[in-house]
């Protein structure tokens, strides 16, 4: 059987293989949301690219199942230590491992950030400003919405209003509840997207079949993950994706430039991959961990850390889950969990006692996840748990997606303990601050109100967090940020960071689309700079201009239809 990437695509063969001693142009650490897009763009532009991925190269037909427990291996399950006043759950909650990374198990909600998200400090006096504006990123949002592609409403009214290339999905039970509750309270809502899930077949990818296992890896091939959207095209254009390659450290030469990475293969053998430039795309825990673990003479506190901000300003979004029990049946396991939302509370509202806001989105916990929520939200155990679970089909669930601000004390450091490779593991500290607590309290109550307005007879909630971003933030000032607006580290001219960790703030939008849009923008910059990256220490901050000719096949649309 050929190696399958969804039911209709196979792994392009043969794949380019670079020797360790062969200096590639770009070595990308992590083949996830950002790494997949970067590898695809850079390979198309003719660079010699290898992406090192710590996890396996999934064969979706063989390795993936329609089963919660059986999908454990999709997550980053290696040890990490989590603490602080509000410790983050990691693993399945937010961390992927394997080609495609987190995009394999994301729910695929693809809202854009709002224009205000890029000017949080200027507008609200909290958080930070981005070194770029929404308008710099907008063409890349549109481009990636076509490349995933995104299905959603013709008119998305919040932030910068826009439409979507594919039509919305049919309404499921939980989406119906959200629309009903919002309508009752006079709030606008949208349904059927925006999601990176196909509502119609696209190239060699089938449309969604509404089986609800988005978070377990979409075997159907309808949900976008870079494993099926960008990696096949990257390989076809000469990139190598090397699985089971855990990068241990980045090597710095005497002249202050990096020349490759040390990685450990699945047999535990150490290799040195030579490279003319390195891009770290390992996400908000592993990226800072790698930079910190790469400390060397002259960089005692980690690579690219002259500012001391590597690992700092880590963010997760408030992700309280609100569940409501209805007299009628809902069957929340049908349709994509990511389905309907409202962003009516997204922006700062002076009448509230906190800055920034939140979104309200549908979620679709399958039985094991739902049981855990009932354990947490209701204190259910024993016979009470058995009883509430027998009503599984009567419940609907929404998620708060709330903006928690970037704080210096929320951070990734190195713990004393070591993992199976002998590398120090990450220690993650997370504390809620006053603004965050007020926002969560308000958001939780508002979402419970929406659930009740929809007709729920019994409404409960569970405190939790969703997503990760930050911990290697971008900025104009090298003393307060790790990378510039193109992801280039301030300290080392041929070392880049490109993933969710460079976000200075996070808004109330799921980060996946933004991460991929930023990756496409960084790729355009690198392509424009050409060989300069490999020789010159000069930092050219001029805009590269967007390349529309580097998209994967079947994604050359003219624009995103919208009703204006």
């Amino acid at each position: 059987m050929p190696h399958r990437l969804g039911p209709m695509q196979t792994l392009p063969s043969p794949m380019q293989r670079f020797a360790d001693s062969d200096p590639v142009d770009y070595c990308i650490v992590g083949a996830g949301s950002a790494g997949g897009v970067l590898a695809q763009r850079l390979a198309r532009a003719g660079f010699r690219v290898v992406a090192l991925e710590a996890g396996p190269f999934w064969d979706t037909e063989k390795d993936w199942v329609s089963d919660e427990k059986g999908s454990h291996e999709l997550y980053w399950n290696d040890l990490r230590i989590t603490g602080g006043t509000h410790p983050l759950a990691l693993g399945s909650n937010n961390s992927g491992k394997g080609v495609g990374g987190g995009s394999v198990h994301w729910a695929a909600f693809t809202p854009r950030l709002h224009p205000s998200d890029f000017r949080v400090y200027t507008q609200d006096g909290v958080g930070a400003d981005w070194p770029i504006s929404y308008w710099d990123l907008k063409p890349y949002y549109e481009l990636l919405e076509r490349e995933l592609p995104v299905a959603g409403p013709a008119w998305f009214p919040w932030g910068d209003p826009h439409g979507h290339p594919y039509g919305p999905h049919p309404l499921g039970g939980v989406g119906d509840v959200l629309v009903r509750g919002c309508t009752k309270l006079g709030l606008r809502s949208v349904a059927g997207g925006p999601v990176g899930i196909l509502s119609a077949s696209h190239g060699d990818r089938p449309h969604c079949i509404y089986r609800g296992f988005c978070l377990q890896g979409c075997k159907v091939g309808a949900k976008a993950s870079t494993l099926i959207t960008h990696v096949p095209d990257a390989i076809r254009h000469g990139a190598e994706i090397r699985a089971h390659a855990m990068v241990a450290r980045i090597n710095l030469r005497n002249d202050g430039r990096v020349d490759g990475v040390v990685y450990i293969d699945r047999e535990g053998k150490e290799h040195f991959q030579r490279a003319r430039a390195v891009i770290v795309s390992a996400y908000s825990i592993e990226t800072p961990r790698l930079l910190l673990n790469s400390a060397c003479t002259g960089h005692r506190h980690g690579l690219a850390n002259s500012s001391g901000t590597v690992g700092k300003y880590l963010m997760a979004q408030a992700g309280n889950v609100v569940a409501g029990r209805f007299d009628q049946l809902i069957r929340l396991y049908k349709a994509p969990p990511a389905h309907a939302l409202t962003e009516e509370f997204y922006e700062t509202d002076k009448s509230r006692d906190f800055a920034r806001g939140f979104a309200v989105q549908t979620v679709g916990p399958l039985p094991v996840a739902f049981a855990k929520q009932m354990v947490a939200a209701m204190g259910a155990w024993g016979w009470g748990l058995r009883r509430v679970m027998m009503d599984y089909n009567h419940w609907a669930a929404f998620g708060v997606l709330g903006e928690i601000l970037p704080w210096q004390d929320n951070c990734v450091e190195l713990a004393e303990e070591k993992d199976q490779y002998g590398l120090q593991v990450a220690k993650v500290t997370f504390n809620l601050h006053d603004n965050d607590k007020k926002l969560i309290e308000f958001a939780k109550n508002k979402v419970m109100e929406i659930m009740s307005a929809a007709g729920a007879k019994h409404v409960v909630q569970e405190a939790r967090f969703a997503h990760l971003v930050g911990a290697a933030r971008m900025g104009n000032d090298p003393s307060t940020s790790v990378v510039d607006k193109f992801g280039r580290t301030h300290d080392i001219p041929n070392l880049f960071v490109c993933d969710g960790s460079i976000l200075p703030t996070q808004g109330s939008a799921n980060p996946g689309l933004t991460i991929q849009a930023l990756a496409a923008r960084t790729a355009d910059y690198l392509i424009k700079q050409g060989e300069n990256i490999f020789f010159s220490n000069r930092r050219d901050l001029s805009e590269p201009g967007i390349r529309y000719d580097l998209s994967p096949p079947y994604t050359h649309f003219r624009g995103n239809p919208r009703i204006a």
Partner: protein
């Protein structure tokens, strides 16, 4: 394994020795397995047919105490013995292979040590409060001890809970129990979950309507044993556990 000693007084009729508890009589996810793709079919049927029988991580004594604990946390006295869902062997397997969930709270020991400490503490609490091992206690007294852990107020006190936050141990234990139970197709039948649905998919998304191969709900009065302490307390505020062990991202 489940001990059928519970004083069982259902007011809705005799609910013991059931082939299939819940409101979806005659519904079987496994009956649909010919419509599942091979990898899922193999995994799920293996789960049903090949429960690990040898305990490799826990000692026999630990396994006995933990079995009694699980019988209260995930009671199955209503199920026919041939239709009991294995929980302990699943936890034992996870700990034996040291399969982690990707993180450890800084105030917690490793999962392996947490189980050893917790089981021992619960047994010693039984001895100190009732002068009897946990296994030997009547169900009501077992529940009294477990309820005190659930409430975050261990009664009696035990030094283990100074070393390990009781709410985190409770969450760890409950999450492992529900993962074992609700990943079993017999539990899917009990709650009316559609189960694996690839490549066929669903066609009736709205109004909670069943697929042709699903069943409509047939409700009846279901009552937990009248004197059980684990019945839901609808009025009482749940303890604030905040985020627990690996949940599976929901959005």
């Amino acid at each position: 394994m489940s001990r059928k000693s519970f004083p069982y007084k259902p007011s809705g009729g005799d609910l013991r020795d059931l082939e299939q508890p819940g409101y979806y009589a005659g519904y079987s996810t496994l009956a649909q397995k010919k419509h599942w793709e091979a990898a899922t079919r193999e995994l799920v049927t293996h789960r049903v047919d090949k429960t690990p029988s040898t305990i490799r991580f826990f000692s026999q004594e630990e396994a006995d105490v933990l079995t009694a604990i699980i019988d209260r946390l995930m009671p199955q006295d209503d199920r026919a013995s041939m239709r009991t869902i294995s929980v302990l062997p699943v936890i034992d397997e996870r700990l034996f292979t040291n399969s982690l969930n990707g993180f450890r709270y800084e105030d917690m020991p490793s999962d392996r040590e947490a189980y050893r400490l917790g089981i021992n503490a619960i047994n010693e609490m039984a001895l100190s409060r009732f002068d009897q091992s946990f296994i030997g206690l009547p169900v009501h007294r077992q529940e009294l001890i477990l309820k005190s852990l659930h409430d975050g107020k261990p009664d009696p006190e035990h030094p283990t809970w100074q070393r390990m936050p009781v709410h985190r141990f409770w969450a760890l234990l409950m999450e492992d129990c529900v993962t074992a139970y609700y990943s079993h197709p017999w539990a899917w039948d009990e709650i009316g979950f559609g189960g694996p649905a690839y490549p066929r998919g669903y066609m009736r998304l709205e109004h909670g309507l069943p697929e042709p191969w699903e069943k409509d709900e047939q409700r009846y009065e279901w009552n937990a044993p009248a004197d059980s302490l684990s019945e839901l307390d609808e009025e009482g505020a749940p303890p604030e556990h905040s985020s627990l062990h690996g949940h599976g991202g929901t959005h």
